[in-house]
Symmetry: D3
Subunit: 220 residues, 6 copies
């Protein structure tokens, strides 16, 4: 009801509420630069997972995983937006995981893009943008997780698959198929150049499908 942009993404059983909050003006140290500001915050509800996690507000500090994912979402979404054309406006993207079953960070990026598009639309409707909407949001961005399980590449791992995957990769692509971020990690095993290629290709394919769904959601 309240946010300037808001979307509930579902990837399998994963559910992430992505909202975009717009404020006029930018943080003090950025005033007068003519540039806007975009930042992202990721969090999980305590019982989004199979067993309850203590709240980070209760622990009094944010964990490394939360920090890492918030930074990844922020970087990915800043790749879509021209901060000059945005003008001195600030956008905060909040991605709150209501229910988790693998791929929460990639679901968050994919949903945050839709919320961001809404927010840019809101700013355009209120004539607050420095540039044209198409200049402001000059690219789209979507993300998937891919992995290798028992030697076989798989798209969009659920939690059970994620746990047994040998290699895990997050791929963030633009709507035109370029890469914004590629993060491949071999926790259980290392991976060869050939496996890397397979994962990257599969990730790019998955992002292309999501791009189509995003366009529909925004159009609808």
């Amino acid at each position: 009801m309240h946010p300037e942009g808001s979307v509930l993404v579902e990837f399998g059983n994963t559910r992430v509420l992505c909202t975009a909050s717009v404020t006029e003006g930018v943080p003090r140290w950025r005033k007068g630069s003519g540039l806007g500001w975009l930042t992202a915050e990721y969090a999980m509800l305590p019982r989004a997972t199979t067993t309850r996690n203590d709240r980070e507000s209760v622990k009094g500090k944010i964990g490394g995983r939360t920090h890492e994912i918030s930074r990844l979402i922020g970087r990915s979404l800043r790749a879509c937006i021209d901060l000059k054309a945005l003008g001195e406006n600030s956008i905060v993207l909040d991605c709150d995981v209501l229910q988790a079953d693998g791929g929460t960070r990639t679901a968050a990026i994919t949903g945050a893009y839709v919320a961001l598009a809404d927010a840019v639309g809101f700013l355009a409707a209120n004539k607050k943008l420095a540039g044209k909407p198409a200049q402001v949001l000059h690219r789209s961005v979507a993300a998937v997780s891919v992995g290798i399980i028992a030697g076989e590449p798989r798209l969009d791992l659920c939690y059970e698959e994620d746990v047994i995957a040998d290699v895990d990769m997050n791929v963030v692509c633009t709507g035109t198929g370029d890469f914004v971020e590629v993060q491949g990690t071999g926790e259980q095993a290392v991976f060869s150049r050939a496996e890397l290629d397979l994962l990257v290709d599969l990730g790019a394919l998955g992002c292309a499908e999501l791009t189509a769904l995003q366009q529909k959601a925004i159009a609808g």
Copy 2:
């Protein structure tokens, strides 16, 4: 999907996700007492409100309002449960406000009772209770906010009404019409004995209606 008890309460535009998480065993200092443990945590998503609030995890500490409400929910729900009959099990009630439009704390109490009933059912089904389910959950509890606006008592204030109310009261009642907690506050104005009586009566009435809805939800 994951929690032992889970309910999404809607009071007007207010939406609170209440989950109950069960773990066998109790905190260390309570071991061997034969008593169970029940605690509650309340929080708001940053954009549940008309303007965005900074996350308490980012600020590194929990605010006074959050503390106060978490304590109120915990006290109210502990009034329904016999910790001895519960046995050495722990239940955490998480009440996360997804969208706020007044009355979030009373919605949280009312919903948390339903999630708690689910969790007690879960423990019963798994034969983990020390007593019988009806002994464990020996009362029901529901809550409403009431107020006086322009001299007139009103039930279940939305945000706009809450802001202009002269007096604001939260009433927590059992299913049999007794009081668990009564908190009346005259921020804008003070209130007379007669007004106090009106508010208490209206609150009790509101709780009775909610009790009926809770029974339905649990039965359904």
Copy 3:
């Protein structure tokens, strides 16, 4: 010696040092509003109680109980004062419990009112008020705790009584007998409408006696 208002309240064995600190000006976000600012902080010395409590400064965070009581004191005292007539001055009320034996929050409110009256007198003497002193402090406020022990209502519970009380209520009244805040809690038991009435009446009576003592203290 130092504060603009200072009083040591004794309720039975409970001893609370209440001071009022005045500064010209208001927090930055309130500048230019023409309104003053009043806030309160409550704390206990570590050995005010029968066993030692760790300091909240050492734990690095303020507990829920402290937050809740500080907020209650602040609300109650803001009910006495016209922030417009106060002008852009800030008053901080510090209530530090030196020795605790039940009823520390109500003792704190009652004492804080006297310290506040001193502080308003100090501001008047220094010609810093926007309005007349009687406009600034347009009401008095006092508070008592009441409870039901073994079925019988009791005024001003000491610690031993508080522990065994079935129902516990804090009543904050103005000097003219209106209510500012009523907080009734049935930790051990629930309470009926008739019990609620008894407690409220007893509380109002207790506040009236304290009002008389406050007037004496201020006059003296």
Copy 4:
């Protein structure tokens, strides 16, 4: 009323409440060592000073000055006590400054010794000591601040003198005139060997006077 040892020290206008809290047992890492444990904590009420200081509990961390003084008090008092003869008991000395007018840390040490003597007496009366009381508390300790103002040495500086002093020294002595701690600081100026000698002698003299007062207080 509650603590095992408790004394309100007055040095000029400085007032420090010193309490000793006794618990059987020692921190986990010390169990089975046969040694006791003694620690000290120093704090100021927010309005102990001419202008109000923010609470360290509200700031969420303890400042350097508080840490430094707490450590000094702890070291000084550990010099009086034989932790083996104390047995596996813990003593916490809390020194809370109610009103400050210079020399709060030395007043705290001098008062804490008296509270400690009370606490040792309490343990002796309850037959909890491993050794005899005179072995446990084998020395007394007292402390004064001395300074040089306009070239002249002065004992026990009040706040106004402290601010203008060229050199400031805290001297902690045993009842037999030996030194436990000597801390001389030349914030405004440096000091010569001759000045150091003067200050040390004056401090030792001051401590001897305080020792006599302490004996009286304990005897009384």
Copy 5:
């Protein structure tokens, strides 16, 4: 002098002190599992950079970047070690940047491997390993940063290059040329599949050179 493994890595002007600290035993929750434990912490001295950064200890919390890099180092080094063969021993790898000029995280990983090899040697010499040294440290690991500047791929970017790079990638490889982690980020620009291939190949080449240097350092 003190650590079980210690190395000062120099990559251009970047200098990172990597130490490995060994303790017998593992964290409580891991006891009895037969598995060892390896963790890493990364930090910068405040003036490692061209302008001074505030200490994270003073700010009271660890920033997102520090968290992210500490986690990356930990994951990369855990890929080299068989925790079962290590037995119930804990190793902490500390990577402290004394001087920074680009590539501090990759320098830290490369140096930490050498410190880890020393530490495993120390454990072997003291007969504390569950398996043979070659089983324990069954792989080597090295890391480089690569980037695209003005369309051209570059190895091991210094700070000035890093700032102007369109794409930045960290590549972590084993001594046999497999990948442990690949993190490519297009902050200024996005990157094509062809550019990704170029960067990955260049990174693998750079790691191979570092592997040779590591073997020399360990042998020497």
Copy 6:
């Protein structure tokens, strides 16, 4: 490479990296005063000692010992500098212990003086000082630790000696033999007036030697 002043001090096996960071301007509350600002921060790398210490950044707070030493370094160095002649410039002295073997705080003070001299030279070369360099840095300062071991006074204790010392004293002197700070502590034992004299004399002697080395380092 980066800091305006930088020196690596070695006292026996103790190694402290001292850097001076210069910024134009002063903290907000000091603006317009015409006075400069000098502050110091001390820290230890986690494995500077024989066993690893947890990072204060990870613990989320600075310990009492760190606070106490940072304050001592700051006071000592402020004794050398005329803040008016410095003009509205800020200098932060960072003393990071890379390897510890006793006397880290006195090594830090002695090294920080040399880094400070470099920084003042840098400011002079850039014509940023309000006064002449010799006015700005009107004194030199050096520090040593002295102690009594088995009845015998010793200069510059290493860690093993420090642990067994009966009395431990830190002496901070100017280049002309006056005292800036004298801190004598009898943790294991108390000390007589005669012992105090011996320690002070030995400390002054040690400082004189260090002054000569400092002059050489600055000249070189």
